[in-house]
């Protein structure tokens, strides 16, 4: 087994044994279940009216009870929920080494620090993508069970790629969460950062320059703020890539060169 495979095995074991990633996955699966509930409400306007607030909320969120609206709802959930849940998992993967004081066991090993950080990022990416697939798969089951109109294979393929694209655009932004978890030596600084970027992303989108703000781009891609093509350009994707690479490089640098005096 190579050193990198060992590091990956170690990170995988920590992930499997912990309850945090599992709870995050369960939390994320609430999105298709809530979407299914909205569809049931919207399918029966009579019953919907008698349900008051939840009916109004369903109409605002989804509009109509059909597959395009349902998939759109799921994509938005991945954009907004993904930013928080992917961040939680990143904070856990990196921050737990500080809160459990296990970092010192990872610094003077034949397996280099770069390999350990690389393994952590790979575990985060795999987990994030797996949860996205889980949400999509559960969405298909829920949509089928509540019986909504408008299904087509093309629509499902496009919706799948949109959701995956939203997740793929969200994941690179997690490198800064990893950096803050490491440099901040725990959970609070990266959590504060996540909230800050969510607020700023909303402001940027409202101001009309969200296509230039990396943390607003996954939301715009998901269609949460209207048709995607009108707002995003190649510069938007480039900004996400560059932001991801900057965070990645800074995290590697920090693990390799920062003083670990605590």
């Amino acid at each position: 087994m190579t050193a990198f495979a060992s590091a990956l095995w170690a990170e995988g074991l920590k992930m499997i044994r912990s309850r945090v990633p599992l709870l995050c996955a369960v939390g994320f699966c609430m999105a298709p279940l809530a979407g299914g509930l909205f569809m049931i409400i919207l399918k029966d306007p009579q019953a919907a009216r008698s349900m008051g607030l939840i009916s109004t909320k369903a109409q605002i969120m989804a509009g109509t009870a059909d597959w395009p609206a349902f998939f759109n709802l799921l994509a938005q959930a991945v954009a907004a929920g993904g930013m928080i849940l992917f961040a939680i998992i990143t904070i856990w993967v990196f921050g737990r080494e500080f809160s459990d004081r296990t970092l010192k066991e990872l610094l003077a090993l034949p397996t280099s620090r770069e390999k350990i950080v690389g393994a952590k990022f790979i575990v985060i990416v795999l987990w994030s993508l797996a949860v996205t697939l889980l949400v999509f798969g559960l969405g298909l089951i829920v949509g089928t069970l509540v019986v909504i109109p408008g299904w087509s294979t093309d629509l499902a393929r496009t919706a799948f790629l949109d959701m995956l694209g939203t997740a793929v655009l969200t994941i690179p932004l997690m490198t800064f969460v990893a950096l803050l978890s490491s440099a901040g030596r725990g959970y609070l600084p990266p959590f504060g950062w996540t909230i800050l970027t969510l607020v700023l992303a909303n402001i940027a989108a409202i101001m009309g320059w969200g296509d230039w703000f990396p943390w607003a781009i996954p939301g715009l891609f998901s269609g949460a703020a209207g048709p995607r093509s009108a707002q995003l350009g190649p510069h938007s994707y480039l900004i996400v890539i560059l932001t991801g690479l900057a965070g990645l490089a800074a995290t590697f640098y920090w693990w390799r060169d920062a003083d670990q005096a605590r």
């Binding site: 087994m1 170690a10 920590k14 459990d100 004081r101 010192k104 620090r113 390799r256 670990q260 005096a261």
Partner: protein, 303 residues
Amino acid sequence: MDLAIETNGLTKRFGDVLALDQVNLRVGRGEIYGFLGLNGAGKTTTIRALLGMIHPGRGEVRVLGQPVGPHGRGPWQKVGHLVESPSAYPELTVSENLELARRLQGIRDRKVVKEIIERLALGPYALRKAGTLSTGNLQRLGLARALLHGPELLILDEPANGLDPAGVIEIRELLRKLARERGVTIFMSSHILTEVDRLATRIGIIHKGRLIEELDADQLERSRSKRLAVRARCPKDALLCLQSAGYRSTVQDETILIEDERAIEHPDEVARILVKGGTPPMRLAVEQQDLEEHFMHLTGGTK
């Protein structure tokens, strides 16, 4: 001398605080080096510098002949360490924590985990989650991880921390055996001075970031002052008797202390004088300054 650890002018500053000031350590292979210092003296900072966890502001660190750093590089496949309080992944069992360490150490032989569990008497806890372990057993797990790969050099920060008296003796014997039978070099910091006194073949004392003394156990033995302690039913009469016989004596807590070399070498003579003077001794013992007293004397303590 073949050195396992060598630092030259090791200096580290954290902001305005000078944590290490020109520390020149020399630890020979096979030695058990006791590293002593008060809290905040620079023990853990030195250990972290030896393990490449912090970068020296100035100076260099060599471990097993290889420079430590840059970027945390070092001969880590030959070094076992235990830094500060023991830690482990709480949701993993003792076995899993060690299996994880085995893989990260790049050890192919799977049996080493079982062997180290037996050696450190962790068998009953092998399947227990580390988060439920007592401090003592967590310390054993930390030691097991440090010993897992059969290192040539062990760098241990307070290895007896949290262990019960039987555990302290057991670990002491284990370390002594490792040094004697396998030639493992042990660099250990401890605040339990008696432990260091019993185990170390060489001692370094760090104070306010400076290595103020380095000496062999033999040297320490020679440098320790001795005295004859005498107890009698009437200390006043005994003191007068001894002073009139020409012994320089003082009384402390009802005990007469004689630092005269003559008395230390011939306590029988002192006994004879006291019996003849009508104040026979109840207790007569040659006492030696212990490491604790030597340490407190050096670091300006009060003992």
